[in-house]
Each structure stands twice: as C-alpha cells, then as structure tokens.
C-alpha cells in the first residue's frame, strides 16, 4: 500500500521531460498520467482549477494511440498540462475568473492553446486567477481564492495563482500563465516553482483575453529549466494572427541549458535590493549569486536609476489599456447580462457594475480618468515617456552585463484575506517585476529555497530583448549549483 502511494507520488512529481521519457519507454501511458492528475485535482483543496476538461482522458487516449503507431509528435506528446483561464479554449469554458464570463465558451482557441494541442499535450483544465488578471494574490476571483500548496492559509500569488499552485502541487506537469506586471513570476516564486515571462512579442497573444495590450505576455510555469525550454520550443514564434508578434528566428531553447555559468556577467541592480526587500529574501538572492560565482560567473552591483517610475508608469499604462480592452463586456454578444433594465444604457451599466469585481472596476475607472480629455498628457503620455527612459536604463546596463539578478517578490506569501486599506501596499509588492513588463524584456523566476516558515522564495533573472536563452542558461546553472 505504501509503495503504491509513493509510486503515484513519484510519478506525479516527475518533470515533464522525465514523464516524457517514461512515455517513450512505455513504462507509463498518457491515460495513466492524466488519470493520476485528474484524481489529484479532485482531491486538492487549493482551488487551483476552475474547470476540468471533460475530454482530457479522450485526448490522452489519442496520444497513446499515436505512440502505439509510432507517430508520437515530439517530447510533449501525451503530457498533461493546464492553462490559465484567460487563455481561450474552443468548446471549453473560459471565465477569466469573472462573473462576467462565468459561462462563456469561446468558439475559437488561442494560438498558444492550439500549438500545445498540436504538440500532443493533454488539456487537464483551466486555472484560477485574479479576475481579468488584475491582482497579485489570486484572491480577486469569482470562484474563490487560490490557496498556496505550501500553506493553505496563505495566498498563492497572482494573477496566475492557479497556474503556479497546480505545478507546485503536482496537479499538472506544466502550466501556462500570463504576465502583465509579474503575474507568472511572482506566483511561481510564492509557490516554489519556475516561471518565465518571455520577451514581449515572442509568444502570440491571439486568443489571450487582453488586460494590458502592450504589457501582457504568456509564460510557462514549470518544475525546472529543461521543461521551460521544452514548452517555449512548442509555443514561441511568429503568429500571423497577432500583429505584435516578433518574426525573429527561434533557437532551440534546449541548447542553452548546457552552457554553464562560466563567464556569465551578472549585475544586481541596487534599486532592487533596497529597504522593502525582506532579509531572508535578500539572503536567498545572494546565495544564488554565490552559487553562480562558484561556477565562474562574475557578479557585480549595478544601477537602474529610473526604477522608481516603473510602478507609476505600469499602473497608468495598464489601467488605460485595460479600460479600453474591457469595454467590450456589455452583455450584448456574450457573457453575463443583468436581469432587469428599462433600456440599453441601463442594461450596459448594470451588467458591467454587477459583472465586474471591485478591483476590476477600480482599474477601469482609473484608466478612464487618465485617458480622459485634459489628463492624457499628464498621465498616459508621461507614463509612455517614462517607459522610454526605463528602457534606456536597461539597454545601458545590458552593454556591461548578460543578465540581471533581483528578488522576484520582496516578501514571501502573506495570509489570505489580509486586508490592505491602501492598495498601494499590494501594488508596491510588484516593484521587482513591473519594470520588466514596462520594458518588454524577458525574465524568469527561479525557486531558491524557503524562508524560516517554509515559504518559497524566488530569485529573478532579467535578460535583454530576446534573451530567453541567457535566462535558461543562468537558471540551469543555478539549478545545478543548488543540487551540488
């Protein structure tokens, strides 16, 4: 009895690449893996899933059939995974954790969902999040908060809390989240798993419900760097349906993993290691620096002087773009519609007031305000100008360094329901991650131990535009160093 439990646990805890080996060896089937995940999802108390895919086992059986015929599609064929619930999946409910879309079933799939399906992956279901990706705790959900697998009284981080918790609790071999201000990296850090936000434009946004168009990016949440590379290989690249997707050629991301840290020039921007960072987090980041130095990396302090404007720029730009992107939710073509109304204007106003949660409404009003006549120059235009300056700082620093190292989150997971009278306190938690989105750069959060309460800490690597390979190189080296 104990042996079979631990065998199941062991199987669930595999990385995607190891599970793939087992599938290739024939020692396990996709149906087995999928059933295992489904059982664990059903038993989990962490509310990571909003919807389970009723066709999951069917997809798994099809993967097994392909493999029998010798027609396996690649390293991810038959691997069960899950998607954040703002990624459209044809025929399967996509809610964005909002009452507004609680019953919305898209008639089409996002490009990233399609690419994973074409790679043979099995879709387990859709993952819980902050409503419309607005938030850093995954508490702003119409379907209840996500609980941190390490401590169910604590947040899992946000907005991709469900995506991170699912991987941390071995409910999926990998997941996709979306990252607008840190929403892949921060929950990954808080749950003790790896999360990457690639360069803006590297991954198609077609079918991803828009929050902030010039900041949003899809990112993989995985158990290790090799899995991250595998997922990137499957989903990255030009999409003719996304006018903002980059056309640059794709490397094989697996190649970067073996490069090692020797000669890697690492900068630690002093603005990211300031007062707000907890001591234990700081020490964890310094440990990572030490690990890499021991492998031959060069670590120095550097500066990104205009970091202080990133948070303001982020909130102005994201709210402005969000209020426009969310204008479409009006009860006419899809989604929630209020019950009682005398005319169209009333219907729209009540639908939106009832369909959206507080945080979403607040950001819509903020965005509306900053774009309104007379305020555009003072807020929106200035924020875009600050953006250019923040980017300049990064470009300058990347002339001397290959990668930057910072904490992902200044603190570890705090308690669920912790009231913040001033949302600025929560917003300030994004300080290490938002500048990356503002500049459109790639970044990765590496799990690097826990604090004295056993809560996971994440260290963040930031690279220059299209520097995913460097991030993977650093992450893989740190993983190796950590195991030594």
């Amino acid at each position: 009895m104990n042996q079979s439990i631990s065998a199941a646990e062991e199987l669930a805890a595999l990385t995607a690449h190891d599970a793939s080996c087992r599938l290739a060896e024939g020692t396990v089937s996709s149906v087995q893996l999928t059933q295992l995940m489904l059982d664990r999802i059903a038993a989990s108390q962490n509310n990571a899933f909003i919807t389970v895919n009723p066709k999951a086992l069917e997809e798994a059986a099809a993967a097994d059939a392909r493999r029998q015929k010798g027609e396996a599609r690649g390293p991810l064929d038959g691997i069960p995974m899950a998607l954040k619930d703002n990624i459209s999946t044809q025929g399967l409910r996509t809610t964005c954790a909002s009452r507004m879309l609680a019953e919305f079933v898209p008639p089409y799939s996002a490009t990233v969902a399609r690419r994973l399906s074409e790679a043979g992956c099995v879709l387990l279901g859709k993952l819980n999040m902050d409503e419309f990706a607005m938030g850093s705790t995954s508490e702003n959900s119409y379907f209840g908060p996500v609980r941190n697998p390490r401590d169910p009284q604590r947040i899992a981080g946000g907005s991709s809390g469900g995506s991170a918790a699912a991987v941390a609790e071995n409910l999926a071999y990998f997941t996709l989240g979306s990252d607008t201000g840190g929403s892949v990296r921060q929950p990954a850090a808080m749950c003790g798993v790896m999360g990457m936000k690639p360069t803006y434009g590297r991954i198609s946004r077609y079918g991803v419900v828009a929050f902030a168009s010039s900041l949003d990016q899809i990112g993989p949440i995985t158990k290790d760097a090799q899995d991250c590379a595998l997922v990137l290989n499957a989903i990255a690249g030009k999409d003719p349906y996304d006018g903002s997707s980059l056309m640059n050629p794709l490397p094989d991301y697996l190649d970067a993993l073996k490069d090692g840290a020797a000669g890697l020039r690492i900068g630690i921007p002093k603005e990211y290691m300031g007062e707000g960072i907890s001591e234990e987090v700081r020490m964890a980041v310094e440990r990572v620096a030490g690990l890499l130095e021991a492998q031959g990396a060069i670590v120095e302090t550097c500066s990104l002087p205009r970091t202080e404007y990133a948070l303001s720029a982020y909130y102005v730009i994201s709210s402005a773009e969000a209020c426009s992107n969310l204008g479409r939710y009006d009860g006419v073509k899809y989604g929630y519609r209020t019950q009682a109304y005398a005319n169209l204007a009333e219907m729209i106003e009540k639908t939106r007031s009832e369909g959206f949660g507080d945080e979403v409404k607040r950001r819509i009003l903020l965005g509306t305000y900053t774009l309104s006549a007379g305020y555009f120059d003072a807020y929106y235009k200035r924020a875009q100008q600050a953006r250019t300056l923040i980017m300049e700082d990064f470009r300058k620093v990347f002339r001397q360094y290959d990668v930057l190292l910072t904490p992902t989150s200044p603190v570890t997971a705090w308690a669920l329901g912790q009231k913040h009278a001033n949302p600025l306190e929560i917003y300030a938690m994004d300080v290490c991650t938002v500048s990356v989105n503002v500049a459109g750069l790639p970044a990765l959060s590496l799990p690097c131990g826990t604090d004295s309460q056993g809560l996971p800490i994440g260290a963040q690597f930031i690279a220059n535009t299209l520097g995913e390979a460097v991030l993977l190189r650093a992450a893989a080296a740190a993983e190796k160093g950590g195991k030594a």
């Binding site: 459209s88 879309l101 077609y206 010039s214 903002s244 509306t368 006549a373 555009f376 929106y380």
Partner: protein, 483 residues
Amino acid sequence: MTTYEIVVGIECHVELKTKTKLFCGCAAEFSDDPNRRVCPVCLALPGALPVVNRQAIEYAVKAALALHCEVQPFSRFDRKNYYYPDLPGAYQITQMFHPIAKGGYVDIETTKGSRRIRLNRIHVEADAGKLLHASGGIGGAGGTLADDNRASTPLIEIVSEPDLRSAEEARVYGEKLRTILEYAGVSDVKMEQGSMRCDANVSVRPKGDPVLGTRAEIKNVNSFKALERAVNYEADRQIDLIEDGGSVVQETRGWDDEKGVSISMRLKENAHDYRYFPEPDLPPILLDPERIKGIGLTLPEMPEDRKSRWIKELNLPACDSEQIASSRFSAELFDRTVALGADPKTAANWIMGEWTRCVRVKGIGMETEPVKAEHLAALLGQVSAGKINNKQAKEVFEEMFDTGEAPEQIIQRKGMVQVSDTGALDAIVQQVLADHPKSVEDYRNGRTQAIGFLVGQVMKASKGQANPGLANQLLAAALEAMK
C-alpha cells in the same frame, strides 16, 4: 439687412473595395444575410487581435495621390472609445494623431466659376456594423438588432477644409470627389449602396466676417442632390435662427429628404470624450517614397488631364469632355473607341447619347462594361462606310448592349443593309411622290419642311434601309423637277 455667407466642410467615408476586411480575413463584400461574414476579430470576442490588410493601405495611398495629398511616411492607428451597439468592442480603430495623408485638393467648376477646394486629411479606419429595428411583437418593446457583417470594412475618411461656399459647390465637390475615387479604382463609390457617405458641416456668418460661425453636422444624406438640398435648408434654418435673435447650437442633425428638413439627433449629444490613445496592438506604418511612387504609377489618367487632352488634341468641345470624363467608364470607353479609329466627335455623341440612355434606362452598371470599345468602334465604322444608316445603327447598338454580340453578327443576322443604290431608291421616291400629292403641293407652295415627311415615307417604304441623305437628295431633285 445682413448678407450671410454659407461655410461648408464635408467629411466623406468611402468603403475601399478590398476582398477582405481591414483587420481580419472575413469577406468584405456586401451580404444582407446577417452575421455570415464574421470572426472573433470583427466581433471583438475576448482575446481577438487586429492585423492590417495591406491592400487597404495601398488603396488609401492611391486615393491620397489621386487627390494630390501628401502621403505621410509615418502613420499609425489609434483607438476611439465609445459605446454604441453597432460598434463591436466599444472602440473603433482609426487614425487620429498620424493620418496616412494630409493636405490635397479637389478642383470644381460651378455656375459661378472654378474653385480649388482644399482637403485637410485622409485617414484609414474600420467601419462599424449595422443596426436594424427588431420586430415589435405583441405589446413588444421593440429593441435593436445588430448585424456585424459590415464591421471592420476598410474605410477612408476624406475631410475637406471648410472652403465650400454654397450648396451647389457642396454637390459638385461631392460628385467630383466621387469621380476621382472611381478613377483611382479604390471603391465602388455608390452613395445609394452606402459605399460612399457624406456628412456636411454647415455654418453661416455675416459676409466679410473672418470668424467662423458655430457649425452643425448634417448626417444621413443619401445622394449629392440631397446634399445640396440639405445644405440649403440648413443654411436657411441657421440664418432664420440668428435673425430671430437665437444662436446656432453645435450639434448633429439628421437630414430627412422626404420632408426636406434636418432634425436634431439629441441622442449623440452626450459629451463625447473618445479618450483617443495609440493602438498598442498594431505596429506603425512606414511608407518610403519609392513605394508611394510605385503606387502612384498604378493610377490611370485622371479626369482633369483627360479633359485637357481631349480638348487640345481631339478638338472635343469642353462640355462634351466634361460629361464623358465624369465617369471613368465612359472615359475609358471613349479613349479606347477613338484609339481603334473612330472619329472622336461621333464617338462622343454615341457615348453621351445612346450609351448613356441605355445605361440609365436598363439599369445596368457602367462598371460591367455593357458595350466593348471594339464593338462600338466597329459599329461606327459600319456607319461611316455607309453600310448602315444611323437609325439602323441605333437598333444594332441596343442589341449589342443587351447581348454583347458583335455588330457585324447582328447586322448580318437582321439582314440590315443600307440602300444607297440610286436606281432602287429612285423608284421608291417616285412612288412616294405619287402617293402624297398634298405634301408635294405644300412643298411647291413654299413649305419646304414637307420634305421631311416625305423622307420619312421613303424610309418607311424601304423598311428603314434607305440612305436618308440620298433619299433627301433624290426627293429634292424630283420636287424641283416638278416645278
């Protein structure tokens, strides 16, 4: 008694005739079967993204060059945010800050002379869908139906400066603009089908006053003549209002052509803060001079140039030139027919006459090329060679128009031949003179026009095949001889 001056600016929305929509691959062609040409993008489903149609940009540049605008090397899209049930997504993608073209002009000629009307800008934008009224039902509250077939159809908006000074000018401007765009080949420009829509901004001021009066925007004008009527009405309305001590309100008014009045559309009054901001989903458009020039080379010879050439090189009268140049299709038919050897004035007469008549009466669109230039030239050749007469030619022409058959085939099939044999005609002439002594008497008594009747009788007797000129000659000679 104050004299007032009317000041008019016109905004035209023109549908570009691309195969697909501006931001998605749905078919752009008109369909009255609702919601059949839709996709996640033009429906603004969650997660959808726009991608620009290259052909739409090229057509926009072509139109801009035809209108003498400065095509901008850098232009970009912006979002215009507002709520209306025909606007999927609650924002329109348009070009506010950096339009694709600036400046430009249209030269017009009215009864008062020639004027150059300046343009302010041309920009590209996506059209909204269509609204229909729902069926009432028993005690029904009605409601509105939205059809998104038209959503995201590519439009260019052409904005003139407020240079127009009369309702006639407004009409002529609209017609000229339409002609130029038809020549450029970028749109079907059919007002009656909605592929060209014009709104007029009308204000009045005391003559000589440099300050512009408050303007009202007049919408729902469905033809150029209606435009003229609407501008006249609106100018009078404003003048009356001012003379009565009131002041003009800046507002949008809908034109009711049946009743001949404009009505305030208070619905659109609510303060419209469109919160324009640059469209983050679309990269900007950079056009280098080579590319712009290349697009310009695809423009055909424009109406003004054609007219000048015809007047100078072909000695065609100015008003003939004006009429034929007013449509690209008549202009091209004329040029090709003349190139095939037809006499210019004759060709012009046929196009202004029979061709125009058939097009109008039979309701066939000119753009379908109902008569080929080769056939028209051949027909005119038959007439000038004396093989058939004009009356016969008209019969052949109409058949050509209806069936597309070559004139030689029709002539042969109908056994048409013009009788120019003096001997044969002489016999008919003698018979006719014998049959109509009264007319002969009238003629001999000085009523020389009686010969016309007699020519007609000769034509009748010859079943239309007599050469009328020759018949006239022979009759005249015979009548003279009888004196």
